[in-house]
Amino acid sequence: MSDWGMQKAALGERLAAGQRHANGKVVPIPSLPAFLKSVIRSGDRVCLEGDNQKQADILASSLANLDPAEISDLHMVQSGIVLPSHLDIFEKGIARRLDFSYSGPQSARIARMLFGGKIELGAVHTYLELFARYFIDLTPNVALIAAVSADKDGNLYTGPNTEDTPTVVEATSYKNGLVVAQVTEIVDKVPRVDIPGDLVHFVVEAGRPFYVEPLFTRDPAAITETQILTAMLAIKGIYAPYGVRRLNHGIGFNTAAIELLLPTYGEKLGLKGKVCTHFALNPHPTLIPAIEAGWVEQIHSFGSEVGMEDYVAARPDVFFTGPDGSLRSNRAFCQTAGLYACDMFIGSTLQIDLEGHSSTVTTSRIAGFGGAPNMGSDPRGRRHPSEPWLKAGAEAAPGSDAALRRGRKLVVQIGETFGERNAPLFVERLDALELASALKLDLAPVMVYSDDVTHIVTEEGIANLLMCRDKDEREQAIRGVAGYTDIGRARDPKLVEKLRARGVIRRPEDLGIDPLDADRRLLAARSIKDLMLASGGLYRPPSRFRNW
């Protein structure tokens, strides 16, 4: 039935065209430009693998070197706009339309190009949302992916940084799309099969590893005492009373401080085994002391972290590892785990407004979302109970029938009232709104919506938004922890004191915390070297983080 096999036929043509530049499945590097030209068609939907960590960098620069007179109008559907070449593809007119999730280091340039009309934006997604669309209406025609090694049959070993690869390959290959992988080397036998060879059409031997950004390494030396105070408040005021065992941490310094306080402050509070036992989390170096002290039972990871490979391999009781011994990460599964199987998300943000919407957007930058809005949202499809989930649900609707009451995921925003360069954390109006109107976006890029956030933690205290009964209380609860920002100074002191009496706002002294105890000596590690030592030398930090 040729009418029903048009996609298969088109794939056959691409395979035949590509075959002319390959030996079997292997494309030699010098043939890569001619090969790419022969298998990509103008107007194709292309997934160029890359997220906030790993990058198919060789394939990205080859794609950017195509001639726009021959190939144009590509629709890029990819997790990350991270490398300069990702935007060169648009600058040169090879691609036109973009659906993506994260743009960290390119956030300023992507905004300029959107203003300049060089990019036609579909939408900014969360990771899981973009993955979902790969299977519905954004299925790639071509996927350009990255792995560590391949055999001649195309079986791929992705190593600790598997990340998005299985998802991208699943969506592309099973829907008649073409899959091309860059690998460091071709081997006789791969250490483990992460992607079966019959889903992979061609492999390119790059001769060097794909690029990985050490995004989740936070140097303990840079943690401030204010951040330590916020971490103490979170541990004693949220982790302990709710008994949060299953959770995800953001990448900021506040949560790094929490990780480093578990074996010291957390131990003193007797919380070991009662909180932080199961994580959806990358292998954060700052979690090493807690793992070594026996706090953590299990961690599933989105990706790996540069330098943590040997440590992870030596702790298979905690991490997911393959028969070869190395970490197996999977972004789609871990995002799902963070959404449905965790009781708390806690992370830093740049701006919070009076309703509690928060955003990491500033007017000149579009950093995208990555996974935070997914982690930082209450999953309406959740049905299994747990202590923190039920307790949060009860606080939100104390009068309702317990058996019919939804629980609530704890979504905690943590930060100092004044952030980097003394920018206030609390604002009347999010910069995201200016950006949305300047770019004529239907939606302002909001990281965590106000109806999802349950707690805000600053050095001034904790605001429990679950216990606010109306808009006014909510606003005063937020103002009540906003310190000396304009928002904080415009509080209604009487109402704030009332909220405090009800336990909606809790100050350090209400929790028995002396701010003077927030000392760097409380950190289980105060430098990258301490982390290396705590790992027994297994953690090998990248050169840029080593101060020895």
Binding site: E267, P289, A293, R520, R526, S527, A534, S543, F545, R546
Partner: protein, 304 residues
């Protein structure tokens, strides 16, 4: 693991503030501050730039006792403007050194500085010159001036020149000594010459271990206040005096050093030339093992 508890037993020199360092260094309760913060002797320049001031202008000076011997102490606060020298900051140290010469009392300078404060550059540069002269004059009068380097800001720019005039330098692994900082070198010579973001490169080029190995410092200690205190007590026992003979010895030592290592492209090449067994292991060695490996280091003299 002991990492969780180790921190509470000792004071990291690198982490500590200027005042915490003094408290941990001198005999308990013996410190008396001169021109303390209550006198609000602040920079006359910073307000012009709308920059915050500090009541002690980022340096604490005074007298105390070290193992019962009277000493003068100066400690820079690296967390205030990178410990940089301004007019008042410099004048406090100059005054302390002149008093040391008159009263024949040894001095400890706890460096933590990026160099001269750009907002008051002329006054700062003059202060550097005055301080170096005051140190030389004090040493000529038989006073020992000991420098300690192990703070967050390191010891850069004019601070490193001052350090070069001290009788003895005590350094920790975290300490860095260099005239030009990493960013300055990269800006002027390009990232191929020096990648300032490569922290391992920064430390093996300017860090305490390398400086100790090539004779840029006299004592190498753990990043711990009691270790610094003991090294300071030891340092005060060395021979006093300063003259042409010291300078000539130092000149020939530097010529020899240039001959031996002038062609080296990286600190590891220098360590290899020193005959160190596994030079690439040096950065990771704990203090005891490092000191054993450093047996063949270049000598440090009483001038640098």
């Amino acid at each position: 693991m002991t990492a969780a508890t180790a921190n509470t037993d000792s004071l990291s020199w690198y982490e500590a503030s200027a005042r915490q360092r003094i408290d941990a260094l001198v005999d308990p309760g013996s410190f008396v501050e001169f021109i303390g913060p209550e006198q609000r002797e602040m920079s006359p320049h910073l307000a012009i730039f709308d920059l915050p001031e500090q009541f002690d202008d980022g340096i604490v000076i005074g007298r105390g006792r070290l193992d019962s011997s009277p000493v003068f102490v100066a400690a820079q606060e690296g967390r205030f403007m990178g410990g940089a020298f301004g007019e008042v900051h410099g004048a406090k140290l100059t005054g302390l050194l002149r008093a040391a010469r008159t009263l024949r009392q040894d001095v400890l300078i706890l460096f933590d500085t990026g160099g001269v404060r750009l907002q008051e550059a002329n006054a700062g540069e003059l202060a550097i010159a005055e301080i170096m002269r005051a140190i030389v004059e004090a040493r000529r009068a038989g006073v020992n001036v000991i420098g300690v380097i192990g703070g967050r800001a390191g010891c850069y720019g004019g601070g490193s020149l001052i350090a070069g005039t001290c009788s003895r330098l005590i350094v920790s692994e975290q300490g860095r000594i260099s005239v030009s900082g990493p960013e300055v070198i990269e800006t002027n010579k390009g990232i191929e010459e020096f990648d300032s973001r490569d922290r391992a490169l920064v430390w093996r080029t300017m860090g305490g271990k390398h400086r100790y190995l090539i004779g840029g410092a006299d004592a190498f200690v753990d990043d711990e206040a009691q270790a610094v205190r003991q090294a300071a007590i030891d340092a005060l026992e060395v021979t006093r005096g300063y003259g042409v003979a010291n300078l000539e010895a130092e000149q020939s030592r530097l010529e020899r050093r240039l001959q031996r290592f002038g062609a080296a492209r990286d600190a590891v090449d220098v360590w290899q030339a020193l005959g160190i067994d596994k030079p690439t292991d040096i950065p990771a060695l704990p203090t005891d093992a490092f000191l054993a490996a450093a047996n063949n280091r270049e000598n440090a003299d009483d001038a640098r």
